[in-house]
């Protein structure tokens, strides 16, 4: 490695560590152009290929007081996610209107009479119901994700300081994704009360039961702590969030008419898990452009520099520090294997065109397959147990 750097800068005589610290951009470039892997693909400073993701370990559980929790390690990045479920009573919501719950109440009654559950994804899922779903979650702020980085994970974030711009941006993106993917079903967060049918004796029609009343909602406080900063915080945070959501246990809750409060059962067998509609996967890519751009077109033409820019999947902290432009893809697949795209955007630049974006989405879709099996496995093994995934390279 010594010789490499000295080739790049024969008179410099710095150690590789010093050179890497002083000139990250030039260092990354020298590694890309001089260190092809076995199959001739240039490799990054961390010896990964362009579309190679780092090793990952996912654990669920382990935090006693959270309804759901997870720990995710991606390379040197590690995050912890804890989800705590609390309640809000509809009677305490000033703007609450009983009619707001009418569609789902009707649907609930209809389903109850037909013996189906809401979670049977049948054709009855009409538009009105869908809208009400997301409106309840959004209007009532039932999902509250927040990321904290001032845990001492990096000296840049002062402990005790208010959330930085990065933290605010990640938190808001997590919230945005939770909403736009609609992965959480509002029904999982509702606490109903079925009033007794006092008129039962007088009426002929048994169908005329009382409408159930929506008494309260569960609110999920989702807190993510970054414990070690090694780049690509968003993917780690989102993975932790999804794993923790899969691990959440919501106690069985009912409205106690006499005390006028919601009571919960501590019986684990009566509790329910969240039935997530999807399990979207987030993939960050950084776009690396040598600074300055190759001085002469000759260098580009000679091929040593390729297009003059590279894409790094799952960037580490060192790579992130020199990349201005990032590409963010969030994809999921439905039951029929059809890919849904929730995010496909570049941030901080415009090097990536639609063709490249298409390839990155395909890579993200392949990553989704792996992510799904990891999280399915870790949730199935019961908590707390870690499932490790060996980092690997994808192609579009």
């Amino acid at each position: 490695m010594d010789s490499l750097v000295q080739n790049a800068n024969p008179k410099l005589q710095l150690t590789p560590t010093q050179f890497a610290a002083i000139e990250p951009n030039a260092y990354i470039l020298s590694q890309l152009s001089q260190r092809p892997s076995s199959n001739g693909v240039p490799t990054r400073a961390n010896a990964r290929e362009q579309f190679e993701f780092r090793d990952m370990t996912v654990t669920v559980g382990g935090f006693t007081h959270a309804n759901g929790s997870s720990t995710v390690r991606i390379g040197d990045t590690s995050v912890v996610c804890g989800i705590v479920a609390e309640q809000i009573y509809t009677s305490e919501v000033p703007s609450w209107d009983v009619s707001q719950a009418s569609v789902s109440a009707n649907k609930r009654r209809r389903l109850a009479s037909s013996g189906k559950t809401l979670l049977d994804n049948d054709e009855e899922t009409d538009q009105a119901y869908d809208n009400e779903e997301s409106r309840h979650i959004e209007d009532r702020c039932l999902l509250v994700p927040n990321v904290t980085m001032n845990t001492g994970c990096t000296p840049g974030y002062v402990p005790g300081a208010p959330p930085s711009e990065d933290e605010q941006s990640i938190s808001n993106n997590l919230l945005g994704l939770l909403r736009s993917t609609r992965m959480i079903q509002a029904e999982d967060l509702r606490i109903w009360y079925q009033p007794p049918n006092l008129d039962a004796g007088e009426s002929d029609s048994s169908n005329e039961t009382q409408l159930p009343e929506l008494k309260a909602f569960w609110v999920l406080h989702i807190d993510i702590m970054v414990m070690s900063y090694g780049g690509n915080i968003f993917d780690a945070a989102w993975t932790a969030l999804v794993a923790a959501l899969r691990h959440v246990t919501i106690p069985y809750a009912w409205w106690d008419v006499d005390k006028e409060i919601v009571l919960c059962s501590d019986d684990a067998s009566k509790a329910h898990k969240l039935s997530l509609r999807e399990m979207p996967t987030s993939c960050w890519f950084s776009v690396f452009e040598p600074q300055p751009r190759p001085a002469s077109q000759d260098e580009v033409a000679r091929g040593s520099l390729g297009d003059g820019w590279w894409i790094f999947a799952d960037p580490d902290g060192y790579e992130e520090s020199v990349c201005e432009e990032n590409v963010w893809c969030v994809v999921s697949k439905d039951k029929n294997g059809k890919t849904r795209v929730y995010r496909a955007q570049n941030v901080g630049g415009s090097t990536v065109d639609s063709e490249v974006m298409h390839n990155l989405l395909q890579i993200s879709a392949k990553k989704w397959e792996d992510m799904k099996s990891i999280i399915d496995e870790v949730v199935a093994t019961g908590s707390p147990r870690a499932v490790a995934w060996k980092g690997k390279s994808y192609s579009a």
Partner: protein, 308 residues
């Protein structure tokens, strides 16, 4: 309440779930009993160097006494202690700081929101500041500060899970006696000491935290309280007094001492001539010595691991 820099929940605030067994005392579970000997410790897991982005780091976990086999309630049987500590520095002091010939130590302790039965706020509260000050005192006495002029270190402890203050069913919302904090502080001291060693900051000794308490489990209020080490507050009917020390075994020096509770009327068991305070401090020192053995082993192993 409404902080625009965070994603906020409902403006009306949220309530903790109320479990029926809290309200209906007939079906209430029974208090866990301490199964260990008075001087026996729960198992400690300690690791260093996990946070690669820090100069030094550590993670400590005290495993709770296992719940009875038949226990299947959603209400956690007991809490354990899980702390992560990171050290940054030595680094330059802020521009505005005055010249210091010594290393300037800054400590921060923060609970994760999900660390306790009652959800914690994002903003630091008084107990967290308290813990930070006690931790700073404990470390200040161990660090050889004149080795690192003009520089500072930040020690940050994140409490991912904290000990209960008392058994959850006794007083679900009581905060009058924060006994859990005592164990948390002992853990903070040990975790920070491990992280300082990992960061190669010169110290006189590996300072460790130890905790002891006088507990009363007898129905008869006149029965003498018992001295126990490494106390899980949820396992005892009441705690009379508790003590935490930051202790350097090599020099037999206490760097930090925190005694809490009313021990003035307490009488020790027959034959014990010490005052109650002395007994508590001795107990906490004994606890710190045991923890030191674990810490020393972990630090020694980390050197050998680095040599390979």
């Amino acid at each position: 309440m409404n902080d625009r820099r965070r994603v906020n929940g409902p403006a009306e605030g949220t309530r903790r779930p109320v479990f029926a067994c809290h309200v209906d005392t007939a079906s209430a579970p029974t208090r866990p009993q301490r199964q260990r000997e008075p001087k026996a410790f729960r198992k400690i897991a300690l690791e260093t160097g996990l946070t690669r982005s820090a100069s030094g780091s550590s993670y400590i976990e005290v495993q709770p006494s296992p719940p009875p086999a038949s226990y299947n309630s959603l209400i956690p049987h007991s809490s354990s202690l899980k702390l992560a500590c990171s050290v940054h520095g030595p680094k330059p002091l802020p521009r505005s700081a005055a010249f210091s010939p010594n290393l300037v130590l800054t400590t921060h302790v923060k609970y994760a929101t999900f660390a306790t039965r009652k959800r914690r706020a994002h903003v630091r509260d008084a107990s967290e500041r308290d813990l930070g000050v006690h931790l700073e005192t404990a470390l200040r006495g161990a660090i050889i500060a004149d080795r690192w002029p003009k520089s500072g270190i930040d020690v940050t402890v994140t409490i991912l899970e904290a000990e209960d203050d008392r058994w959850w069913a006794d007083a679900p919302d009581s905060h009058d006696a924060s006994w859990g904090m005592m164990n948390v502080l002992a853990g903070c001291i040990t975790a920070a000491s491990a992280a300082l060693a990992d960061a190669h900051i010169d110290c006189l000794d590996l300072v460790t935290g130890g905790m002891a308490a006088l507990v009363s489990d007898d129905e008869n209020p006149d029965a003498p309280p018992k001295l126990v080490l490494d106390v899980d507050p949820s396992e005892h009917r009441s705690i009379v007094a508790a003590c935490v020390v930051g202790y350097m075994p090599g020099r037999d020096e206490i760097t930090q001492l925190w005694l809490k509770g009313d021990s003035s009327n307490a009488v020790l068991e027959d034959g014990d001539k010490r005052t109650v305070h002395e007994a508590l401090i001795d107990g906490a020192v004994t606890a710190a010595k045991s923890v030191h053995a674990v810490l020393a082993e972990v630090v020694r192993e980390s050197i050998l691991a680095a040599g390979q």
